[in-house]
């Protein structure tokens, strides 16, 4: 093999050899550019196919979707759905045609979806043919009417929680789903969250990490906030507001605080977590007592309680579990989470990816090393403290007083609602079963709506098993 030492080039003119060897990387860069452009072309083509209509592109699996209600929550769902391939948005409906409707249609246009816009859902159902599914994110008091009409029009429905502001409305939704044979998913999105499913299926059911569960808890704390406003130049005319059940623009934008329209914070926030209580404990509650009131805001514009504390009792196959829940809207400290405590461990879990750990009760639980090795749990973080000053004379030891903290090994960084929507669309395609079908959503509504009743009654209210059935 011949040996070569690259020639020193100092002080000489650039010759042909320097030029050729100096630019040796240029053809490689050219090949790179060709490959990258081709790859980008394929990528864009695939993306276009994903949003193209099934009819035009021959993609039979693509679903034609309409949005009914595109306010704040509808916007959240829409942004999640734009990340899901295989959807073709056909129509958008919102009574705020001056603002919400225009904004949603413009957003969809940017993503290549030419949608028809409607102010009245009946108009949309009459004119739109070929729809597969409707996503409903209207105020709670409209859910029953909208859902029943869409199901009866032959469409599958994803409806935001709370299923309805009345149990009568929620019952009609379950009955309509049964009668039509169409799918109805209720938007308790934690039911499809991979961390929650992993925790329920593996940590609680398979490994029984907590042992005998005795108490549960949950909270959702929100900072004080002014009422929601609206751009004056886009006000909905008073006649149209009345037609759709609102007295004013203030009531329209802040409907969650009004009785007969929404359910207040315990329903908006608490229903997600109280639903987790029933899911993780495997039973519906036996009783509830609650205290609440409009303690901070103006009761004239905040008819529902800004602060609610509730206590549930659950009769599980392994014994009684008592659960407390708090929602308050005047201080956001400590955020939102659920916790379950058994004689062998404690679980703290939240939709927020920052919170998610189990704590081993050292005196009762066996070793969790195997679950750490298998990747179910993170390495233990041992919290140690020194004995306090008064005990130092007699104790010169490091005393471990806290249980080991293990992070839940599964992380989730997608938009919170995306897996629940994916579950719905996969079910529509026949590839999955719903994670929160109508009956499950109904049972959750029974448990949650009773809290407001208990506040009024100022006593413990009991559930009968029949109440949870339709």
């Amino acid at each position: 093999m011949s040996e070569e030492k690259p020639k020193a080039t100092c002080g000489k003119k650039i010759d042909r050899r320097d030029f050729l060897q100096g630019l040796a990387g240029v053809p490689v860069l050219g090949a790179f550019a060709l490959a990258a452009l081709k790859q980008e072309s394929y990528r864009r083509s695939r993306k276009a196919q994903a949003v193209a209509s099934g009819a035009a592109q021959g993609g039979a699996a693509d679903l034609n979707v309409a949005l009914l209600g595109v306010g704040a929550q509808g916007d959240v769902l829409l942004n999640s759905m734009l990340k899901i391939p295989g959807l073709r948005f056909r129509a958008v409906c919102d009574i705020w045609s001056e603002y919400n409707l225009r904004r949603a249609a413009n957003l969809l246009k940017k993503y290549g979806h030419e949608v028809n816009s409607y102010e009245d859902y009946r108009d949309m159902l009459d004119k739109e043919t070929g729809l597969d599914a409707v996503i409903i994110a209207t105020p709670d008091f409209w859910h029953a009417e909208h859902t029943v009409a869409c199901l009866q029009a032959g469409l599958h429905v994803y409806c935001e929680k709370e299923m309805s502001n009345t149990l009568e409305g929620a019952r009609r939704m379950v009955q309509a789903a049964r009668a039509t044979g169409k799918l109805l998913q209720i938007g308790h999105q934690r039911r499809s969250n991979p961390r929650y499913i992993f925790t329920h299926d593996v940590l609680l059911r398979e490994l029984n990490l907590l042992g005998r569960m005795v108490t549960a808890g949950g909270q959702w704390n929100r900072s004080a906030a002014p009422d929601l406003g609206w751009p004056k130049k886009y006000e909905i005319p008073a006649g149209r507001l009345r037609q759709y059940g609102f007295n004013s623009m203030h009531q329209f934008t802040n409907w969650r605080w009004y009785k007969n329209l929404g359910g207040g914070p315990i329903v908006d926030l608490g229903s997600h977590q109280i639903d987790v209580f029933s899911w993780f404990l495997g039973v519906n509650p036996k009783s509830v007592m609650a205290s609440g009131g409009t303690d901070y805001y103006d009761p004239a514009t905040h008819e529902w309680y800004d602060t609610v504390l509730a206590i549930y009792e659950y009769e599980t196959p392994r014994g009684t579990v008592r659960a407390h829940y708090k929602t308050q809207t005047t201080n956001g400290s400590l955020g939102y989470y659920e916790q379950f405590m058994g004689d062998q461990g404690t679980l703290v879990l939240s939709e927020s990816s920052q919170i998610g750990a189990v704590y081993r009760e050292k005196t009762r639980a066996g070793s969790w090393d195997e679950w750490v090795r298998k990747g179910y749990l993170g390495e233990p973080k041992i919290i140690e403290t020194r004995a306090d000053d008064t005990a130092r004379d007699s104790l010169d030891v490091r005393e471990t007083i806290s249980p080991d903290e293990h992070k839940i090994a599964l992380s989730f960084f997608d938009p919170y609602h995306k897996p629940h929507l994916e579950n719905f669309f996969n079910a529509v395609r026949g590839h999955a079963t719903l994670n929160c079908p109508a009956q499950t959503g109904y049972e959750s509504a029974v448990a949650v709506l009773k809290v407001n009743e208990a506040v009024e009654a100022k006593r413990t209210l009991y559930f009968t098993p029949e109440e949870f059935h339709v």
Binding site: S2, L29, G378
Partner: protein, 167 residues
């Protein structure tokens, strides 16, 4: 130690190694740029080991995360171009080493650490990041750019004495 001269084929192999790594860096950067909404958030939030708090803190600062995203994308692109063309090669190799070291420290494959971001292989201490980092150290020390690269022309234009690659 006796100087060892490299044969032509050995030099060509090293230049090819540099271009291959440059290609990898460049496409990683270009793909992230073209994606439009790429963010290091998920990777940083997955961080484990003693620097986890730092990386997660970075992920939690929206303004800082924007800077991290841009620095990562353009760092990958510029390093890739430098290595592929042999332009400012030592700077590019050093930058590449720094970048990969940060990736490694963010999610090190140490005993007892498990990640939810799936890896395409199985690693303990040594992963492909470390292999690429080691290759860049070789390229930092052996001036392949004087064999083939824009630096060969720049050195002549600037009349700067290049280091004898065989010494």
């Amino acid at each position: 130690m006796k100087n060892i001269q490299l044969s032509r084929i050995q030099w060509i192999s090293l230049v090819a190694l540099r271009m291959i790594i440059g290609w990898h860096f460049l496409y990683e950067g270009v793909a992230k740029l073209l994606k439009g909404n790429w963010s290091a958030y998920g990777f940083l939030m997955e961080s484990k080991w003693i620097f986890a708090d730092l990386f997660r803190w970075m992920a939690g600062q929206p303004a800082l995360l924007e800077v991290v995203n841009a620095a990562n994308i353009w760092g990958l692109i510029l390093i890739g171009l430098g290595l592929m063309l042999g332009a400012f090669t030592r700077l590019a190799a050093a930058g590449g080493i720094l970048l990969i070291a940060l990736y490694y420290l963010c999610n090190p494959p140490f005993v007892g650490l498990f990640y939810s971001i799936p890896a395409e292989g199985n690693y303990i201490f040594i992963n492909k990041n470390i292999v690429e980092l080691a290759a860049l150290v070789v390229l930092l020390l052996i001036p392949t750019q004087q064999m083939a690269g824009v630096d060969r022309i720049l050195a002549k234009l600037l009349k700067k004495s290049p280091r004898n690659p065989a010494s």
